[in-house]
């Protein structure tokens, strides 16, 4: 195909590649700038020498951050949140999506359940009543407040239901006639056949759990119960002065508020960066199933 391109087509190809390369750089450079700041000494940063490459390379900002008990405690809570919350999200999604993927003839209550879940995507009781319910359950300052209210990811249920609907009836009919229970059909047939869809909703679940900060900020009274993003909200966005009060004399020349902030932001990005390539090839499936259907 390359050979029979006309001249204007070739010019267009070149321009197109340049435009898209610029767009990709626009997405990448802000992150590189931040990475470079986190890896440079504070004096190089203050004098404005740092753009996209570290100047006066040092890991001190990271060492400083990792020495902060608040930071790694919050990091640990976020990791625990992902390890407890994501399996629960997946379990709930599968257990809700299978009944919802039955036809109305097979499962008469299907539509009622469907509306029951869908309505919550549009209508909510609002912030204050939500808070009151959770506090009446005694979940304030509890780890479970970060898990249970977000245990059912309705959007993921929608994606998975649509995927389950596409699995040919014949396969499960054969199993059901052979005496398999619904439970067995779900775990032995549907789950193994839905790896792509499950991978994509798992990515969404991981990212949602890792990224959520609001619940932590509102439902945890004590800062030591904050997950990482809530903790970052207080230090990065509100510029908490506590950040520098504990400053160790050893770091005073190499670490500034700005480099340490950059290092914290980058460390919090790292887990997403690590999972992303593995699941990237799957998530388009999820987006397409959830957004547009044929």
């Amino acid at each position: 195909m390359n050979k029979n391109l006309t001249r204007p087509r070739k010019v267009f190809q070149v321009i197109n590649v340049i435009i898209l390369a610029i767009l990709a750089l626009l997405c990448l450079l802000p992150l590189l700038n931040l990475l470079a700041i986190s890896l440079s000494s504070s004096s190089a940063v203050t004098t404005g020498q740092v753009s996209f490459w570290p100047v006066d390379f040092t890991l001190d900002s990271y060492k400083f951050v990792l020495e902060k008990p608040e930071f790694y405690r919050a990091f640990g809570i976020s990791v625990a949140k992902v390890f407890v919350g994501v399996p629960l999200n997946m379990l709930m999604s599968i257990m809700i999506a299978y009944p919802l993927s039955r036809t109305k003839a097979e499962f008469r209550a299907r539509n009622a359940y469907m509306w029951f879940f869908l309505i919550t995507m549009v209508f909510s009781g609002g912030l204050v009543p939500w808070y009151i319910v959770i506090s009446k359950l005694g979940l304030i300052d509890s780890f479970w407040a970060l898990i249970l209210p977000v245990a059912v990811p309705v959007y993921n249920v929608v994606i998975l239901t649509n995927f389950f609907k596409g699995i040919p009836k014949e396969i499960e009919e054969a199993a059901l006639i052979d005496g398999a229970t619904y439970w067995q059909v779900v775990w032995r047939i549907f789950v193994p056949l839905s790896k792509a869809a499950l991978a994509s909703i798992m990515l969404f679940a991981i990212v949602n759990h890792w990224n959520s900060w609001f619940e932590g900020l509102i439902l945890m009274n004590r800062p030591e119960n904050y997950p990482l993003q809530s903790y970052l909200q207080t230090v990065v966005v509100n510029r908490d002065v506590r950040l520098m009060t504990s400053q160790n004399a050893a770091f005073i020349t190499t670490v500034s508020e700005r480099t340490s902030r950059a290092a914290q932001v980058f460390t919090a990005t790292l887990p997403v960066l690590v999972v992303y390539p593995f699941l990237q090839k799957y998530f388009t499936t999820g987006v397409v199933l959830g957004g547009v259907k044929e």
């Binding site: 753009s51 209550a109 879940f117 319910v133 990212v207 990224n211």
Partner: protein, 314 residues
């Protein structure tokens, strides 16, 4: 299946399905439906000490009070302005980028670009607030360093009330445009290639093919995304997506009192009134109106989507 005592047999058969869905249904009931009963406080002078049953009913007083909050209509205007700009740009930019990506010959380059531009979607607004506060800073940020390098005056993107709404729109487009291309790229792959062959025989060049074959083929998807965005218009959120990038998360983390005039949206107001000032009933009243209007718009959007694009969510 067999038809002996059909009703009882059917009940027995579907019982496991009910049991399977039950735990999730209970969780949703507790954390989504129970708070809806709390909406009653929008019609009360609610005080936590008296509770839902002890607080006095005040009819629509909270709603009347809300409409009289100084700057309330300005906040509605801010919300709509930011929303509408986001919805438009979060459709236009991804469509153009999807068209450009679709024209690429090298699949390797295409995949690299996709990998990079999808990524910002997965970062939280906390991370991005940290990022944007730094790079958009008027004194030390890289963006203003570049502006100064070319002889311009530094711009206080997040602190100047004239810039703030547009900064919200641009940072949101930065985060979402790549991810937004996914649905359009999917729609592009389903275009029948014979359409292009026919257009070529008729003498249409690539540009004319894009205009007369590709864009009309994308039109249903574009309309669909627009209609589905309707429900979020009072959230200043832009597009619909899994990790629901709501306008609240963005604006709450990037605004400051000096830009309240142009940057305050309904959700930030509800948050400040409800959890900041303890005006529980007024906050809930505003939330209720917002929720009701969103619900109406969403239903309208889905109805339109079903009528025009034969779209069904489930």
């Amino acid at each position: 299946m067999k038809k002996k005592n059909p009703l009882a047999a059917k009940r027995m058969k579907t019982l496991p399905l009910h049991l399977m869905i039950l735990p999730g249904a209970i969780l949703v009931f507790v954390f989504s439906y129970l708070p809806m009963f709390g909406l009653v406080m929008a019609f009360q002078n609610f005080s936590p000490a008296k509770g839902f049953f002890g607080s006095d009913f005040v009819g629509l007083a909270n709603f009347r009070y809300a409409f009289k909050i100084p700057g309330f209509w300005q906040i509605v205007y801010n919300t709509l302005l930011i929303s509408i700009l986001k919805i438009i740009l979060n459709i236009v930019v991804p469509v153009i980028v999807a068209l450009l990506l679709n024209e690429l010959i090298s699949t390797k380059f295409k995949r690299t670009v996709q990998t990079v531009i999808y990524f910002p979607h997965f970062l939280s607004w906390i991370i991005l607030a940290g990022l944007f506060i730094d790079i958009l800073s008027p004194s030390e940020g890289i963006v203003n360093t570049i502006i100064r390098f070319f002889g311009g005056n530094p711009i206080y993107f997040l602190g100047d009330k004239n810039w703030f709404p547009y900064s919200m729109v641009f940072t949101d487009v930065w985060k979402e445009f790549g991810y937004g291309t996914i649905v359009y790229l999917a729609a592009l792959t389903s275009i029948n290639p014979t359409l292009y062959e026919a257009a070529e025989i008729d003498g249409a060049g690539r540009f004319k093919q894009t205009l007369h074959v590709t864009l009309p083929a994308l039109a249903p998807t574009i309309l669909l995304m627009g209609m589905l965005s309707l429900g979020g218009i009072l959230n200043a959120g832009g597009t619909v997506s899994a990790s629901g990038s709501s306008g609240f998360e963005q604006i709450y983390n990037l605004y400051s009192p000096q830009v309240y005039e142009t940057g305050d949206i309904l959700e930030t107001l509800v948050f400040r009134l409800g959890l900041g000032n303890g005006q529980y009933s007024v906050a809930t009243a505003i939330g209720l109106i917002k929720s009701a209007i969103s619900c109406g718009l969403m239903t309208f959007g889905y109805w339109l989507a079903k009528k025009t694009a034969n779209y069904e969510i489930l």
